[in-house]
């Protein structure tokens, strides 16, 4: 960015970007790059692909910036566009965006298995890198819903609309994703304890 005294607000940057000012585009990019890129990286755990998707999301946004009227927050607009870009990419690759099953599997995912074992919980905070790795291991369908809800903060009704599933499906996918993450994290912790 230029001299901090000359830093412009997001609203000013949007208006200047509509006029074609490069500095304004760059301001908007730097304001939102981490959010956009992190979302892409969570959804497609490959840095090169995530960068391509982030680039595409910004380009689509900048191409349409002339139509932005300020009815909603700019970040919301960008956020939604990024999700669409990523989901389109996943669909193009034939990867499931969300699983089709509606109901919770009853037996093998039940906490009943842990009864009587006094299963230790994930105490304290979770190692961020381990959490990232665990998210990367999730099946794509689970990962989509988990990232959209728990990382990005979308509501289930929004997720249902974005990915084209029911609210119930969104909730059950999220629950399964969290259960799987719990298993991965415990495994990683146990492995780390073994190696010291």
């Amino acid at each position: 960015m230029t001299d901090p005294k000359q830093r412009i607000t997001e609203a000013e940057a949007i208006e200047q970007a509509k006029q074609g000012h490069e500095a304004a585009f760059e301001t908007l990019y730097h304001l939102h790059k981490r959010r956009v890129y992190s979302l892409c990286l969570r959804m497609v755990p490959n840095p090169a692909q995530a960068e391509d998707l982030a680039q595409e999301a910004f380009l689509q946004l900048f191409r349409k910036i002339g139509t932005f009227r300020g009815e909603s927050a700019f970040s919301t607009w960008l956020h939604r566009m990024t999700v669409n870009v990523v989901l389109m990419q996943l669909r193009k690759k034939g990867l499931p965006v969300v699983s089709l099953e509606e109901t919770l599997e009853s037996e093998d995912e039940s906490p009943r298995k842990e009864f009587g074992t006094q299963d230790a919980k994930l105490t304290g905070s979770i190692d961020r890198l381990q959490l990232q790795r665990a998210i990367d291991k999730l099946p794509p369908g689970y990962r989509t819903v988990f990232v959209l809800h728990d990382v990005e903060g979308f509501e289930h009704n929004e997720i249902a609309q974005i990915v084209g599933c029911s609210i119930g499906n969104s909730k059950s996918q999220l629950h399964k994703a969290r259960l799987k993450l719990r298993d991965y994290l415990k495994f990683m912790r146990a492995e780390k304890a073994k190696t010291g």
Partner: protein, 264 residues
């Protein structure tokens, strides 16, 4: 409440906070059932920690470089304060001597490139950075290019069109705070501009029908040079990029040499 009922309501977990959504007997069950309590605690922790991942990764500077390049290609960047790098078609000076100077100029362009490539930038020097402005006229370089390259026995020379001077300005980029700039860069660009102007003047005089062609190609090679230089501002240690910069200067020297052969 039984464990099986806990199992049924867990999907209703909202925003990592179960307590607000669930009845009192849920709480009392958790107090008496360590397994369910641990499970709920873990899932809540995962949901909470996940929030911190929302903005924890930063893309490499090359992403902005590519975005800016594409915006320029599409004409979405129209900086009013930028100046064109080439002199537009205006008073043509008569050159009575042959264009003998083009050969040493071509060599000078190459030498300038070698200097820039080998120069190690001073760290943390906060100077103005030039933006990449590749004016790639070929459609193949846009986002619409086909994913596969198929052999085309009838390759035709339609990969370039002359680009109007207004599409290849020398913009002043607002420098991100984390960018390291090269102190030598502005000097080199200034020298190249004067030579480009001379070059086009001679072409206009000796082969006016070719001016548009050479002008377009010159814009392309200059844009390529600027693009790599801008990248090297962010990644001064990238040896491959330095070699690419040398190649870009060689391309410019090649253009001068082809012109020299053509108009003598």
């Amino acid at each position: 409440m039984k464990c099986s009922e806990v199992e049924r309501v867990l999907p209703e977990l909202v925003d990592g906070s179960l307590a607000a959504a669930f009845p009192a007997d849920f709480e009392s069950h958790l107090e008496s059932c360590p397994a369910c309590a641990n499970l709920v605690s873990d899932l809540t922790l995962i949901a909470t920690e996940a929030r911190d991942l929302a903005e924890c990764d930063e893309p490499s500077p090359r992403v902005w470089v590519r975005i800016a390049a594409q915006l320029r290609d599409e004409g979405l960047i129209r900086d009013p304060e930028s100046r064109p790098i080439l002199v537009p078609a205006s008073p043509r000076r008569r050159w009575t001597s042959t264009a003998w100077w083009l050969a040493p100029v071509a060599a000078a362009v190459l030498a300038a490139g070698a200097y820039v490539v080998s120069h190690k930038p001073a760290p943390q020097v906060a100077t103005q950075v030039s933006a990449p402005a590749p004016t790639n006229p070929a459609p193949q370089n846009s986002a619409q290019k086909s994913p596969d390259i198929s052999p085309n026995p009838a390759l035709v020379a339609t990969t370039s069109q002359p680009v109007p001077a207004t599409h290849s300005p020398t913009p002043k980029l607002a420098k991100p705070s984390d960018v390291v700039a090269s102190a030598a860069y502005p000097t080199v660009e200034h020298e190249a501009s004067a030579e480009d102007q001379q070059f086009l003047s001679v072409v206009s005089t000796r082969a006016p029908s070719l001016r548009a062609t050479y002008e377009g190609q010159l814009q392309t090679v200059n844009a390529n040079i600027r693009e790599v230089q801008a990248y090297l501002e962010h990644y001064p240690g990238d040896q491959d990029a330095r070699q690419q910069l040398m190649d870009a200067y060689q391309q410019k020297a090649l253009l001068y040499q082809i012109a020299l052969d053509r108009i003598q």
